[in-house]
């Protein structure tokens, strides 16, 4: 039972091409790039993902713009100009929940087991995934912005500020992606991830994204005022409108930008270590 055989086996049609072993394990960058390539390809080659997400995103935007919009008082500012910056920010949460489902599905289907059995830095696996999902999300933000422009949204400030607003949205997307990574890793099945994503959605509505916070009952206003979506929305809105007072905000644009960046940093610091730990031993 313990003897080694040194039998040579006949080959059928000459020597098959050799499968060579690597000289050293993959580095962090190569690992992240390989795994990001998969997420990007999957997105590009699954047109349903893009079409469904775009249509559902556009649908809600149209409903708020044309159905609820008339009943929401934003003062002299046209509601569409109020709405679109907030809407773009909240679409981060919708895209993020799709990513969480994908991450959970990989656990469910054994794909993550394969990856975790490979001699790779596991943190790089997760980082590559989060970066790729953030890139996909940013593409979605661009589509949403475009739809916003089509339904009448106009920037009031200068173009540089508007571009800065868009870059900020991408940063927020990256920060929230760590939250959704944790969610996907904890949920472990796509269905559970979808269910858990719903828990994050109150953030969308109890915020300044769709309606002015001062139209909410007094007890709810502190909740809305002190959560990340409001800070992010106010930052993006101030930049897009060129003047925070247009959106009924008393603080400066700089205030909102710094506050929203602080929130982003806090989300990454709080959730990235949890995601990494979770990924190391689910």
């Amino acid at each position: 039972m313990t003897t080694m055989t040194t039998t040579t086996f006949p080959t059928t049609t000459g020597a098959p091409p050799a499968i060579l072993a690597p000289e050293r394990p993959a580095g962090a960058v190569a690992t992240a790039a390989a795994i990001a390539g998969r997420t990007i390809r999957k997105f590009v080659r699954t047109p349903q993902l893009l079409v469904v997400n775009t249509i559902s995103g556009a649908m809600f935007l149209l409903i708020f713009r044309y159905v609820f919009g008339g009943a929401i008082d934003t003062g002299p500012l046209p509601y569409v100009d109020f709405l679109v910056p907030g809407y773009v920010v909240t679409s981060i949460l919708f895209a993020g929940s799709t990513a969480a489902s994908g991450i959970a599905e990989d656990i469910e289907k054994g794909f993550t087991d394969r990856l975790r059995s490979l001699p790779v830095p596991r943190t790089a696996l997760l980082t590559g995934r989060v970066l790729a999902e953030s890139a996909v999300l940013t593409f979605g933000l661009a589509v949403t912005t475009l739809i916003g422009l089509l339904v009448g949204f106009r920037i009031h400030g200068d173009v540089v500020d508007a571009l800065a607003a868009f870059v900020l949205c991408a940063v927020f997307g990256f920060a929230f992606m760590w939250v959704f990574a944790v969610l996907g890793l904890v949920a472990r099945t796509a269905q559970a991830a979808q269910g858990m994503s719903l828990l994050i959605f109150p953030l969308t509505f109890v915020s300044s994204a769709m309606v002015p916070v001062d139209s909410m009952p007094g007890w709810l206003q502190p909740v809305a005022d002190n959560q990340p979506i409001t800070a992010m929305t106010n930052a993006v809105r101030s930049l897009a409108l060129g003047d925070p007072s247009l959106a009924g905000l008393s603080q400066s644009t700089t205030h909102w930008v710094l506050l929203s960046l602080a929130w982003s940093a806090a989300l990454v610091l709080a959730f990235a270590p949890v995601a990494v730990r979770r990924f190391h031993r689910p």
Binding site: A21, P22, R114, V120
Partner: protein, 343 residues
Amino acid sequence: MTDATPLVEAHGLTKRFGDVEALAGLDLVAHGGQVVAILGPNGAGKTTFVRSLATLIRPDSGTLRVHGIDAARHPERVRQVIGLAGQYAAVEESMTGRENLAMVARLFGLGRRQAAANARAVLDQMGLTEAGDRLVRTYSGGMRRRLDLGASLVGAPRLLLLDEPTTGLDPRSRNELWDAIRRLVAAGTDVLLTTQYLDEADQLARHIVIVDRGRVIAEGTPAELKSRAGRDVVEVHAHRREDLPRLAAALAPLGAEAPRVDLPTGRVTVPVDEGRAAIAAAVRALDETDIDVDDIGLRRPTLDEVFLALTGAPAGESDDPGDHTHHAPAPAGTDHFDPALAS
């Protein structure tokens, strides 16, 4: 390949999941240069053991070495010598077969060019060259499993871990996968696989380890297991199904255990202590009846019967807490034990 370090060395492995004791002091030493099959019913602890070997979970206690590397202390070094193919085909549907293999090859640490070369070689070895540039979502189940097997070996690991590699495949796909595994072993890769199919272990493995309730209950070559654990068997095929109960009754006195009746094949088997004397006695016993028999013979026990003798339950049945007493064994030579046939 001639080092004497065991391929796998496990001592007293335990692992609990809540109330379930998946590994209950598993001990195993297996050497390379052959296929090692971990054979056992559902819930026996096979998958938990493979996941421990693949460093996906940590046993609660005990020691585990892979190629001499302590899996608890140096999991990252274990990962450099293994390739894993789990129970599901872990491949990306939106990529081609070639892209899947190249991606995993990159993750094994190969440069871009060598990754492409290995992917090509693996496609060839798995008989997927023609399908290599098609998206995996167009592949059949058998093709996906072969691609998954290919992905586990595209970095040329020294030990392949295959967890139930053929579960859910049709017989033809299974044969193709078996051939692929045999080619790998011939080329010098060590393979440890789990299976609940007795014939799969018999077909592929030189070292079979039977696991039940988290422990190793027997191990050896197929021949050793058959001679160690099983009695010789007298087997009689009845010409008419309705004679089966009478046939069993006629054969009962000469058996060392109760006769087993297998309705689908019209067959009665009796484990006996003294084969030659028993077959003569069987012929005499049948002479005194008017039962028509097609065939009567003495043979070595099948692995199914070995399994039954060792565990008290047919393969694939220990999940079922019901009766273990009067199941007929699976017909010899069938692919696997099908509980539906037995009840």
